[in-house]
């Protein structure tokens, strides 16, 4: 057992130590990234559970989040979704597809000039609401939804 490694593990909760360890190349960045993946949220089978695991269950409906997606998607395997949050200081966006087997699709954190204006492509198994939660720098949560009718599912098969 390597003493340095021990001290790194002990101090891992202090981000300064972790950053220093990263800088020194002691930890592979991938190890840190893996810890970022919110397993409970991504493996939740209900939108409500996934939102709760992401700390987003108290979101308030807002018209300032624009969810652009087709009304009818012919191919559920590739559904283009664009999201713009016009809420000032939006620092995170989370995208849920309520009726998917695992509703949480993707979550983004923005910093250093990145704006809450993203485009993506999602799989949708069934006709469902696409639910987007925006989080502001002071921790306020807002939500908007858009229904997409799917004529051929993108999951299973």
């Amino acid at each position: 057992m390597n003493i340095l490694r021990r001290s790194v593990l002990k101090g891992a909760s202090a981000s300064g130590v972790l950053a220093a360890a990263l800088a020194a190349g002691l930890l592979k960045p991938t190890q840190v990234l893996a810890a970022d993946w919110n397993k409970a949220a991504f493996e939740s089978k209900e939108a409500a559970g996934a939102m709760k695991a992401m700390g987003a269950d108290a979101a308030v409906a807002s018209k300032d989040i624009l969810v652009k997606a087709p009304d009818i998607a012919e191919n559920g395997a590739v559904v283009p979704v664009d999201v713009v949050s016009n809420i000032p200081n939006t620092v995170s966006l989370m995208v849920f597809v309520d009726k998917n087997p695992f509703p949480l699709s993707v979550a983004f954190d923005f910093a250093n000039g990145a704006v809450a204006d993203v485009s993506m492509r999602l799989k949708m198994g069934n006709t469902s609401d696409v639910r987007v939660v925006a989080k502001t720098a002071d921790g306020k949560l807002f939500v908007a939804t858009k229904e997409v009718k799917v004529t051929a599912g993108g999951c299973g098969g």
């Binding site: 990234l33 699709s105 993203v118």
Partner: protein, 104 residues
């Protein structure tokens, strides 16, 4: 080894519009192989980050319901022509890939 990403970063005013195409199967683990009747094992990108000019601008957690060969678009203020864009992803099997481009 995964194929390279395609990254395009175009300057509009002082906003960089960054488009990323990642080559990845994004297998959900819910799909059955019709020959063996077994589920294809899950294999999907779980995390990626975008850096612009040396600073992390976007960090993302990704689930299996993002489409095969994921495409993402972002906008970042305060960009200059020539700024370096670095994108890194990592999947649930621990595979990873880093690619870069410059803002044009």
């Amino acid at each position: 080894m995964a194929s390279p990403m395609k990254i395009r970063a175009q300057l509009k005013g002082d906003i960089a519009e960054i488009k990323i195409l990642m080559a990845h199967p994004m297998e959900t683990g819910q799909r059955k192989d019709p020959k063996t009747n077994q589920f294809f094992p899950a294999h999907f990108i779980q995390h990626f980050s975008v850096e612009l000019g040396g600073k992390v601008v976007v960090q993302s957690q990704v689930g299996a319901s993002v489409s095969t060969n994921p495409v993402f678009g972002f906008k970042v203020k305060g960009a200059k022509a020539g700024d370096k864009v670095v994108v890194k992803w990592q999947d649930n099997k621990g595979e990873s890939r880093t690619d870069e481009a410059a803002v044009a």
